[in-house]
Symmetry: C2
DNA sequence: TTGAAAGCGCTACCAG
DNA sequence: CTGGTAGCGCTTTCAA
C-alpha cells in the first residue's frame, strides 16, 4: 500500500505507466492539451488527479528553458506604494500561470546588484525593477542578460528594455503649478532622499522658479525612514521655523503629508487656510482623513499590472509593439490644498 | 570573439575547461568552497568572474533536490500588517541565500489551494502560511507534502507542522479588559470578516461577558475592503446610532481605528473623553496621529523573521527543537483610550 | 496523435 | 582534494 506521502515522489513516468502512454504524452496533457486525443487526455488527467500527481516545475523549467517566474526588485515592501505595485504584478502574473519572486534592496545599491544576480541565476523569465538603475555595471549586465526587463516608477530616456511609469519631474512641477495657481506663494517641499523624490523636487523647484516666486524651502528625509508619518511631522516643524513661513507645502508622499497634517492639527494650525498641504500617491487614506488630502495620483497598482502585461507579451510573443508606457499622473484636488 | 551576451549561455563545463579542472570541482567552488584547494579555488573564481559566469540555480535545484526557495501565501500584500511580515521573511531569507516566492489569496480559499499546489509543484523548500487553514483537503495535502511549513498569525492547537503567532482570542480579551479597566462600560467592536478578526471578536465578547457588563455592539466589515480607513469611518457612524451609545470601541486593525478617529474628529467628538478608540497592530502611524492611538502590538515583522528562522533551521538541520512559538502581544496605552 | 530518445546544467556519490 | 559519471524530472524534436 502506498504511503500517504508518495505523491511527493510521483513522476510523469508513473502516470505514463499507469495510463499506458509515453511520458511525452503525459507532458503534452499538461502543456498542450489541445494536441492530444480527447480520450487519452481524459484518461491521463483522471489518473493524475487520482494519484495526486503534481508536475515538477523545476524539472520543467530546466528542460524547457523557461521558468515561468518573474522577479521584482523593490526598495521596500513596507512602503504602501510599492505594495500596490506588487499587488498589481502578482495578480496579473498569477492569473496567467506565472509566479512572482520578490526581493527588497532597502535602498542599497549593493543589495540590488546581488539580488539581480541571484534572479538571473534563477533564470527568471522577466524582471521588474523599481526606478531607473544608474549603476553602469548593472545596466550592462542586465542588457546582456537578454531577458525582458521593465523599469518602473520613472520615465527616463534610455531604458534597458521596457519602461512603464510617469515623469516624477513633471509631477513635481504640476504640484507646484497647482499650488501657485491656488494663490500660494511661499512654497515648501518635504521629501525622501531617494532618486524619485529628488526628481519631484527638481520639477517642483523649476516650476517655482519659472513662476518667478521665491525659491522653495526644502527638507529631505533620509531613506529608509522608520516612520514616514513621524518624519513628516518633524519636517513640518522644521519648515515652520523658516521666515517668511511657507503657506503651502508639497510632500513627496502621502504618509509624510499625513504627518504634516497631524502636526498642524496638533499646533492648531488650520489646513489649508494657514498652511496648505499636498501629498503624493493618493493612497486610500488620503481621501479618508480630515481634511482630506490633495495629492498627486499615480496608479501604483496600474504600474504593476502594466509591467506584468508587457513582460508577458514580450515573453510569449517574443517582441512588443510599445516598449514605453507613460501612465501619467493627475492632481486630485481635495480639502488640504 | 564572444558576443556580449554569451554569459547567459555559459555553463560549468566552460569554466571547468578554462580552468583545467572538472565540473565537479567548479560545482564545489560555488557550494562548498571550504573543501577545494585554495589555489584551485582562486583560479576558478577568477575565471568565473572574468567570464561573468552565473550558475544556473534551476539546474542546481533539480539535481540537488533543493530549491532554496521559500514560498509565502498571504491574503493581500496591500495590508501593511502583512507587508511587515513579508519584510521580516524576506530580510532573513535573502541574508541566508534563499529566495521568496510570493502569492496572494485575496481571502479566497480556492485561490489559496491553487497557489499552494503551484508552490508545491515548484518544489519549494518551505512554505509560510497566513493563519490556520481550515480546509481539510489542503491540510491533508500539506501534511503529506513533507516539507517544512509554518503557519503564522494565529496560535491554534493542531498545526500542520510549525507555528508562530499569538492568540487572537486572548488579544481580543486583553483589549476588552484594558478598556473595562479604564472604566469604559459600553463597548463596541469593529472588525473585518476574516477568521483572525473573528477570533479577536470572540475573545473580546467573552471578556465583556465575564466582566458582567452589557454585550458589545458589533460591526463587521467584509474582506477584502477597498479602504479600511473609509470602512472604519462608516462603521463608527453606524455604531454611533446605537442606544445607549458606546463609550469605547475596539477596532480589529489600526487602519479601521484611524478611520474611526477621523470620523470622531469630523463630528467634533472628543477622543477619548466622549469615545475611546483602540486599534490593533501598532502600525507606525498609530503613534504618529493625534490623538495617538492606543493599540495592541503584535510584532508583525517578528512573525516573519521568526517564521523564516524556524523554516531554515528545520530545512538545514532536519528537525527543530521548538515547533510552536507564541510571540504574544502587548497593549500599548496611548491617548485614544 | 503518439513514442523514443537526446538533452537541459548541475549535484552528489564513489574512486582515486 | 579532485575527477568521472549517473542521474534529477521534464520538454522537445523527429519519426512513425
Amino acid at each position: 500500500m502506498p504511503s500517504p506521502d508518495d505523491d511527493a515522489k510521483l513522476k510523469m513516468e508513473d502516470i505514463a505507466r499507469e495510463a499506458g502512454v509515453s511520458i511525452a504524452t503525459v507532458s503534452r496533457v499538461f502543456n498542450r492539451p489541445g494536441v492530444v486525443h480527447p480520450d487519452t487526455l481524459a484518461r491521463v488527467k483522471e489518473i493524475a488527479s487520482r494519484l495526486r500527481y503534481t508536475p515538477n516545475l523545476t524539472a520543467g523549467s530546466l528542460a524547457g528553458n523557461r521558468s515561468r517566474i518573474i522577479a521584482a526588485v523593490i526598495p521596500t515592501i513596507t512602503n504602501s506604494i510599492f505594495s500596490e505595485t506588487i499587488d498589481g504584478l502578482s495578480t496579473v502574473l498569477t492569473g496567467r500561470g506565472y509566479q512572482l519572486l520578490l526581493g527588497q534592496t532597502s535602498y542599497r545599491d549593493d543589495q540590488q546588484a546581488a539580488l539581480i544576480e541571484t534572479f538571473l541565476g534563477r533564470r527568471v523569465d522577466g524582471l521588474v525593477l523599481t526606478g531607473i538603475t544608474r549603476d553602469r555595471k548593472v545596466r550592462t549586465r542586465l542588457k546582456s542578460a537578454r531577458i525582458p526587463i521593465v523599469e518602473t516608477w520613472e520615465f527616463g530616456a534610455n531604458p534597458i528594455d521596457m519602461l512603464v511609469g510617469f515623469s516624477n519631474e513633471k509631477a513635481g512641477a504640476a504640484a507646484a503649478d497647482y499650488l501657485i495657481g491656488r494663490g500660494y506663494a511661499r512654497l515648501g517641499f518635504i521629501g525622501g532622499s531617494d532618486q524619485r523624490s529628488g526628481a519631484r523636487l527638481e520639477g517642483f523647484c523649476h516650476a517655482v522658479a519659472a513662476a518667478g516666486i521665491a525659491p522653495c524651502r526644502i527638507v529631505r528625509i533620509p531613506s529608509p525612514s522608520p516612520s514616514s508619518v513621524m518624519a513628516g511631522s518633524q519636517a513640518i516643524a522644521q519648515l515652520l521655523h523658516e521666515r517668511p513661513k511657507p503657506d503651502a507645502v508639497f510632500c513627496s508622499n502621502d504618509m509624510i503629508a499625513l504627518g504634516a497634517l497631524v502636526e498642524c492639527q496638533r499646533r492648531g494650525l488650520n489646513v489649508p487656510r494657514q498652511l496648505a498641504v499636498m501629498g503624493f500617491s493618493d493612497l486610500p487614506i488620503a481621501k479618508a482623513v480630515a481634511p482630506s488630502l490633495t495629492t498627486v495620483q499615480v496608479g501604483a497598482m496600474d504600474i504593476g499590472s502594466q509591467a506584468a502585461t508587457m513582460l508577458l507579451e514580450k515573453i510569449e510573443k517574443g517582441h512588443i509593439a510599445c516598449k514605453r508606457v507613460d501612465l501619467g499622473f493627475s492632481i486630485v484636488a481635495r480639502e488640504s490644498a
